[in-house]
Symmetry: C2
Subunit: 569 residues, 2 copies
């Protein structure tokens, strides 16, 4: 491609409306233009990147044995009624009436349509397993579309659906897709993690999310440095520490007139924060379903994990207690609460790490005071113990291998073992080897193709612009010509280099727009081309090209062989 014949339209100013760096850079580079809320036009430059992602996804899906098809974007209400999702899907489902007042929706996903296809197409177990996928536009009517294509309403998604006679076959394909996704993100050149996920609303038995790691990611991920364990911080198990040490201190009351937080108390006492215990007052239900006051205890440097706590008995819909409820149960103000109750025996749920502590500090249930040297069994009863905290950096990995780190991630893929949820609801059956109709088990596997483009930029950028991995770059190599109009030799040398690169299968672009070097280089850096080659009068005279990789700040003068070696490496 010659840039003079391409529609490249970068902007000098950073767009004000964009909140995150990928949105800013995609606008500035002219990759996308906003049409309306959550609707974006992909410019020629943006589409080149989108297609690179799409093609890698397609190649790897095909390699994995999945078979591509194409379902309509507009789907009839009747199918969505069969699974109950016409109502249950909620406001994200864009509902449409046609000219005959019949109800349709714009597909946000395609379980219903593929299951309808399958119940027509699949008759016998001999046709299984099969994995059908499409790369097709989707629409989710986000209540607050934002961040450009990161959370757009219309987007490009790869969605795959597999059908199986038995669970062993489903698990095999689930693993196959897990491995395929790993290959896809590795080929794209992205740092990513496969994260064990809650199966949530979509149901099913197993689920992993694939996250592109980026500081700006919405989700916190805990991952091991000693294995491929990774999980959403919300879900990662915090292992119990070792044995509880023996008590060495005596119980004593500490004057803490204005010290309400663990940090303040630890600072006042000159002890590590890890010696303090935070008491969070909550309201759950007792065995009879009546409101029950309780304290959830975590170490001073930990925080309560709501999802985990809600799994304790009676806590499914717990809430924080009000000041009045606290005063009624403990006769104290928040900031001075603790598990040693003067008035009555209250429910205490201690995190595993709290249960392993000795000689710790808690609130005294008396305003202005804490109690130090507290020990389980001696000063108060043994507590109810559960894993109720979020893991933190440095925790041991739950699989026993290595230590956890925390990273932020952007979800770009998801694999689910669905089971027979959809095949049963929609009466999709195949005959098994005995001639008996059975509902096939299903898996579903999604990749947000357009979202990957934004996520990659979140992970790979600097002040000058985007830093594409080679596989995603609109072009791998830019050949920049200095002042071609006045230097026919330079123009010819650049043209020859460009032609030779093309002939060798290198995805190259010739910047023949005749811009001044500063403006040209700024564009090439902004749009993130990995390899830049400058063809100048001085270079042509010396028989060299000025080469610079986007990741380095220094350029080198290379002869053609060295240049080729560098570009093709």
């Amino acid at each position: 491609m010659r840039l003079s014949q391409f529609h490249l339209n970068t902007e000098k100013e950073t767009p004000a409306e964009a909140e995150i760096v990928s949105h800013k850079l995609m606008l500035k580079a002219g990759m996308i233009r906003k049409l309306a809320a959550g609707l974006y036009t992909w410019s020629p430059l943006g589409l080149r990147v989108l297609r690179k992602v799409e093609n890698i996804v397609r190649e790897e899906m095909n390699r994995a044995g999945a078979v591509e098809m194409l379902m309509p974007t507009i789907q009839p209400r009747e199918l969505w009624e069969e699974t109950g999702r016409w109502e249950k899907f909620g406001g994200q489902l864009l509902k449409i009436k046609d000219r005959k007042e019949a109800d349709y929706c714009y597909a946000p996903t395609a379980e219903e349509v593929v299951t309808d296809f399958a119940r027509f197409e699949l008759a016998s177990y001999k046709q299984l397993p099969v994995n059908l996928y499409q790369i097709q536009t989707k629409f989710r009517d986000e209540i607050r579309p934002r961040f450009g294509v990161m959370r757009a309403r219309e987007f490009l998604m790869k969605d795959a659906y597999s059908f199986h006679l038995d669970d062993a076959s489903l698990q095999t394909e689930y693993r196959n897709m897990y491995d395929t996704y790993s290959r896809i993100f590795a080929r794209l050149g992205l740092k990513f993690r496969a994260v064990f996920a809650d199966t949530g609303a979509i149901g099913g038995s197993a689920s992993h999310e694939f996250h592109v790691l980026a500081d700006s990611g919405e989700d916190a991920i805990a991952f091991s440095d000693g294995s491929d364990y990774a999980a959403n911080v919300e879900l990662a198990e915090a292992l119990a520490p070792g044995e509880r040490p023996a008590a060495t201190e005596t119980l004593r009351k500490i004057d803490t007139p204005i010290q309400k937080t663990c940090e303040e108390v630890a600072a006042l006492m000159g002890i590590p924060l890890q010696r303090t215990v935070k008491s969070v007052a909550i309201m759950g239900e007792d065995a009879e379903g009546k409101p029950q006051f309780a304290l959830a205890l975590v170490r001073g440097d930990h925080s309560v994990n709501e999802i985990k706590l809600s799994k304790s008995a009676g806590m499914a819909e717990y809430r924080l207690a009000t000041e009045a409820e606290i005063r009624e149960s403990l006769n104290a103000s928040p900031g001075f609460l603790g598990p040693i109750s003067a008035t009555e025996s209250i429910r205490v749920i201690a995190d595993r790490s709290v249960a392993s502590m000795a000689d710790f500090v808690v609130g005294a249930n008396e305003d202005g005071f804490h109690i130090a040297g507290v020990n389980w069994g001696r000063d108060l009863p043994e507590p109810e113990v559960a894993d109720i905290r979020s893991v933190v950096e440095g925790d041991p990995s739950p699989d026993g291998k290595g230590t956890l780190g925390i990273a932020r991630g952007i979800e770009v893929g998801h694999v689910f073992a669905l089971g027979n949820k959809y095949s049963e609801a929609m009466d999709c059956t195949v005959l098994d080897a005995q001639g008996k109709p059975v509902n096939p088990l299903m898996g579903c596997y999604g990749i947000g193709v357009s979202r990957i483009v934004a996520a990659a930029i979140e992970q790979n950028h600097d002040d000058a612009g985007i830093r594409w991995p080679d596989a995603m770059a609109p072009w791998r190599v830019a050949v920049c010509v200095i002042n071609p109009k006045n230097n026919p030799d330079v123009a010819a040398a650049a043209e020859t280099l460009y032609q030779n690169l093309q002939a060798a299968g290198v995805d190259a672009v010739l910047d023949d727009r005749g811009l001044r070097p500063g403006a040209m280089f700024a564009d090439i850096e902004l749009i993130g081309i990995p390899h830049r080659v400058v063809v100048s009068e001085r270079g042509v005279a010396a028989g060299t090209f000025e080469y610079r990789h986007r990741e380095t700040s220094e350029s080198e003068n290379l002869d053609i062989d060295a240049l080729n070696a560098r570009i093709r490496s």
Copy 2:
């Protein structure tokens, strides 16, 4: 691809719901499945064909210098209001309300969105000309969707839009697109015609339709055997014949008691149909806009062309006259009408060929009688002359080169020179060389990608199924293995052949499903694979392969070299 790992699902019965052959064969071959009225899922087999078409369209558009982009399928009402098409587009525009009650439509075409993009992106004449295209799903809410993907509601379309500073540039690109379309349909292996078209509702100055020729086509096309002239029959000019001969007969009344049509009168008189004249009674308007009775005359073997007739003065909204109106003006019944009026002088519009006739036969305006030996100037005044008939097979081509034939066609492409209709309505301007803002001139160029698939089948099929041109076939070559399970040598030979074809870049499929030969061959014929190679025990023993082309009924036993030569030719 191995068919055992592909989801092929042909049907034995011909589907009852399909009215045309392409719809029947696409269902029978399992290329598409109906989801709802006008909505079709493309199976893996169907999608392979669709992608072949899409890729050829893309390659040729890129070669022509057009630049690909991607616009959303969902578009905001505001843009469509700017051009007035929110109302004017009519019921085919699928209107949608989002969760915030904002109005959108599903794009049936994208002039508004691309012009909105252009008014943001294009600032200077230096950025022109540019041709931006996309291959994207469209929706038109047809009142009566039918014929499968031939007239579906959701379909895949390539739509391109070019922007120009002046008309010379627009005409150059128009010609470039015309040539590109010709290359595309030639590469697809289809018989087609570029047809001069009425610019119609979309406006603009020049327009050609591209039709795939097929007996089942909706449109009749006149084309020259001596040039590339082609036009819709409705629009093709009928040239005036040579000089009018001298009168040789006397005027005489003929007794035609029950002969009302020209055919009947000619038969009775024993003269050629070409000697008779048909008088069609119509109501137009006179110069003051009042209803005016008139006769439109065409030769007995011709028919009135409504579009042409409507271009005569006062005939823009003409209609056929009622029997009462006829009786009032001519005092006769239909079947016996003619231009020699006993009562008053009425308006007569004669087709060019009628104006060149002598000694002809017309109705007598008296029930039961005709008049023969009629001559212009002698027996009645010289008429108003116009081209008001449709051309017929054998007419001279309007460009003076060759003779016209008539074929039926299916419209699959359309090129328009739009002018400034959209750029003006939407206030899209660029600065010209003098720094003055001007509305760029636009062209638009559409191809119905999914429709091409159906049209190709209409053109290429037989009783056994589809006969794909090589370029559109799901696979060019099928390697069919006979009884592979019991013949490891045969299976190995087929596998080797398949691998070698793949390695040589031949798009081949291995039919390793283990079907009986009859069922296997029927499938391969039905789905239209051009080249079939059978690998059998006998062939392996003899060192030959049984080769048959889909177009022939005989197979040949070829050794590997001859086979390769045949397949690659």
